[in-house]
Symmetry: C2
Subunit: 497 residues, 2 copies
């Protein structure tokens, strides 16, 4: 399992390098190198030797509790073997091929605003994922099988009430907010030199607890966090000279992800408790949603809070004395929380983001169970955007063709964003019930909050399933009420509701 | 073989990253990831499946000439399998362990100037390498077996006349040079901002033909070149604000290495003709010495030539208008060719460098055949430096303890530097017999020279053994006379001999 972890970490290094450092000529042979590492990681995992060692290990630890580290590791390896055994190699090969041609077709279709050009590929992707779901198996809905790789335990049945409650609570809140006067953001559009933005983002990420001796910050087109064990956890951001929140909150978001990885129990290094053996990805976070909870918590609950800017605005003004000369902490805090629903998911504000996600999850589930047809997507998409956000979609480029995801051959990857938001709210509520955490948060000292997250979330790596982790940390499984209450409170304050 | 190449390239990416980008915390787990890739590359190479495929391939190509690409590839794979089969895995494990503890012991011994502290490790390293040599096998001298991995075909017997001739010719030349007035170099010690030095080095590397769309330049402590297929060939340099030649000639040297890799036949990508299956390293250059010939040729024959600076001094002065205000092309050319023998190999000038190498090779061969004893090394070292360079070695830190090499568990790695110098001279002489190349060189147009190198050296990758490559390119095997003649001519001109 150490070797599997090494191979997957090596693959992550090659992918980081490809996105951050690689000269453009390297793309073709790099793809082959990454593919070889993928194949060898899977081959090493499913090898007879693994099964032999696993049998021996399980025989040896029979006397241990089922929730001991040893028994958990063995159970997870067994589960991953079962998962991979169910998926024919030929299907993986077809999905890889589809992914490798898909991106180009999608990019051209999007550039030409031509949904009909993309539709056959999407139909094939749906058919292939449906086939994949049948092999993986499911109790109720084929989409459940596809979510398993990203958000194990989550099902269409569990998402429906969650999404219903979010729509019910957030739609009127968003409508009210949109009827009020928005805070000023013009000062955020002044020219902020990009190198200084990065330096400031780095400083703020460190202030959250991100350890640069075990990490680094670079720029890239599509920001991400990636770890090569807890000892090397890197983040990226992007800059816009005339929109300073992009770089800053990119840094805080990815630093939130990074904190999860940097604070996993060191004893779990190079073990299955820091390796996603189902998704074949070297990561300590237990699900994509759990991971997103940490990025959103540190980006939004911390980085967009009034207390944070009361404490840190001085640093911002030192970094940008001219740009922020006529701004104060209060105005800065209000500005970075402005709600402005738009058509593009990756640019969405905190309050409208979930509507983008719920739309995509509903469409994916409908495509997979056959209740929606590919050719109807533009109409469905545009109607939902009108209904949820009150916006007209002028073309498919700004609508159904905007995301890269479906061109990669993957379906089932979206729900974690909203689960992350909800989970962040729930964990934040539970953490701030602790007197030290609450006092720290009030005084913009986030050490106690990070300590609570390390103790209740980060250190456990992949030891507990997401809902079990939540139950241990908060006393209950996924619950949207804290998140809804927090959004309602913050935006009522900012918008004078 | 494609997989083996992918794994070795992945290992190279991880090593580049470790030396150029990695935060310090990542070192421990990165070493494990690199080790896993090494083990899997070797396992994949020596697997039964490889032997089965090789047998099948050899049966299939029986009708091909022995020097066809197909037959050459098969023969090389067979030779690599034979090599690895001869070395017990347990010995490799011991050498890896020795290397991993050795560096720390060496660093401490060097810091404390305590040879006795390092001596036991060196004795163990010698014993282990002697054991390795017995397994690898040799006709005359055990050191030949150790050089095989780096400079196949080279032997103690072939090096002795080469070294004898170099000493005979270069010692009096060096002595005469040292008796004359040295060119002024004070202007090279003015403050040159490091970012501008790097930009200038990048420009000059591009002027040699280095393709930055398939490469990149970074800074590091110990500069190197590394390739991840011909499509991604990276160089590094280092800067000293008060010694501008360091960065500049570092860039030209590594660019010379890079040209070899960037210009290998694209058809050889991911094949054994771009993979050192004996040394388990993804490289297209056929030997370490052949590789060094290209770095030294572009650094010295091109980059330190009068014609180069007559053509490029204007660019230098545009980059550094203040620092070079009172300097002209002639003075610049003379300055960057100043001879100043010193105690430290990595800082040696062109004319004294080979003496450092010959000393180390003679010591290694003597240690391996038992004619030298570890405890006598300081005395032997200091006597040779006195004899060859006329310098007194004040301590072992500046003498026998200066190099990292022996702490890595490796012996046999040094001769390629001098072979590279000699080979560069020989190839340069042959190339400039071509009228177009000669006209180009005279006019500082290096396109024809590079074209000749691509045609006669680079494109062939590892297809021909080094001496066969030399024979095809120059009509004869390794010959020091052109190199000696070129050094004599250049330094006679600069020093008015």
């Amino acid at each position: 399992m150490g070797q599997v972890n090494d191979l997957l970490n090596a693959k992550s290094v090659l992918s980081w390098d490809a996105r951050v450092m690689m000269p453009r000529g390297g793309a073709e042979t790099r793809a082959k190198q990454v593919a070889t590492l993928s194949v060898l990681a899977r081959d090493t995992l499913v090898a007879d030797e693994t099964r032999r060692l696993l049998d021996a290990a399980q025989a040896e630890i029979q006397s241990k509790d089922a929730d001991s580290v040893e028994a958990t590791v063995c159970a997870q390896v067994r589960e991953a073997l079962d998962y991979h055994d169910r998926i024919p190699a030929e299907l993986i090969r077809r999905r890889t091929e589809m992914g490798s041609i898909g991106q180009e077709i999608w990019a051209e279709a999007r550039a030409k605003d031509d949904f009909a050009m993309f539709a056959p590929l999407l139909a094939d992707t749906v058919a292939l994922n449906r086939e994949m779901a049948e092999h993986i198996g499911y109790a109720e809905h084929p989409y459940d099988a596809l979510m398993y790789r990203f958000e194990p335990g989550e099902t269409v049945a569990s998402l429906q009430p969650l999404f219903g409650r979010l729509r019910e609570a957030l739609r009127p809140l968003l409508q009210t907010v949109m009827s009020r006067t928005a805070p000023d953001v013009e000062f955020l559009r002044r020219p902020f030199p990009v190198d200084e933005q990065l330096a400031f983002g780095r400083t703020m990420a460190q202030r959250l607890g991100y350890d640069l001796d075990r990490g680094r910050l670079d720029t890239t087109v599509h920001p991400f966090e990636v770890s090569f064990t807890r000892n090397d956890v890197r983040i990226t951001s992007r800059t816009n000279e005339n929109w300073m929140p992009m770089c800053l909150f990119g840094c805080l978001h990815e630093a939130g992800h990074a904190l999860y990885e940097q604070n996993c129990d060191p004893a779990f290094t190079r073990t299955p408790l820091a390796t996603d053996l189902v998704g074949l990805y070297a990561v300590a976070g237990v699900s994509f949603g759990a991971h997103e909870s940490q990025s959103r918590l540190f980006e939004n609950h911390v980085g967009r809070s009034r207390a944070f800017w009361e404490a840190n605005f001085g640093t911002a003004r030192d970094a940008f004395p001219e740009q922020l000369a006529d701004v104060d902490a209060e105005a800065f805090w209000r500005g970075v929380n402005r709600v402005a629903p738009g058509l593009i998911r990756v640019e969405a504000d905190e309050l409208s983001y979930d509507f983008h996600i719920m739309l995509r999850v509903d469409i994916e589930a409908g495509l997979i169970d056959g209740s929606l047809k590919v050719e109807d997507l533009p109409e469905i998409w545009n109607a939902r955007i009108r209904q949820d956000l009150g916006l007209e979609v002028p073309n498919n480029r700004m609508g159904v063709l905007q995301d890269v995801h479906w061109s990669s051959g993957q379906i089932g990857t979206f729900c974690n964003y909203t689960i992350g938001n909800v989970m962040a709210g729930q964990l934040y509520e539970a953490a701030t019930k602790d007197a030290d955490v609450a006092a720290g948060v009030a005084a913009a000292d986030y050490g106690p909050l990070l300590g609570w997250m390390v103790k209740n979330v980060h250190q456990h790596g992949r030891r507990y399933e997401r809902n079990e982790l939540l139950r241990r940390a908060t006393g209950r499984t996924l619950d949207p009420e804290p998140y809804i209450a927090q959004l309602t409170q913050k935006y009522s304050e900012i918008y004078g509701i």
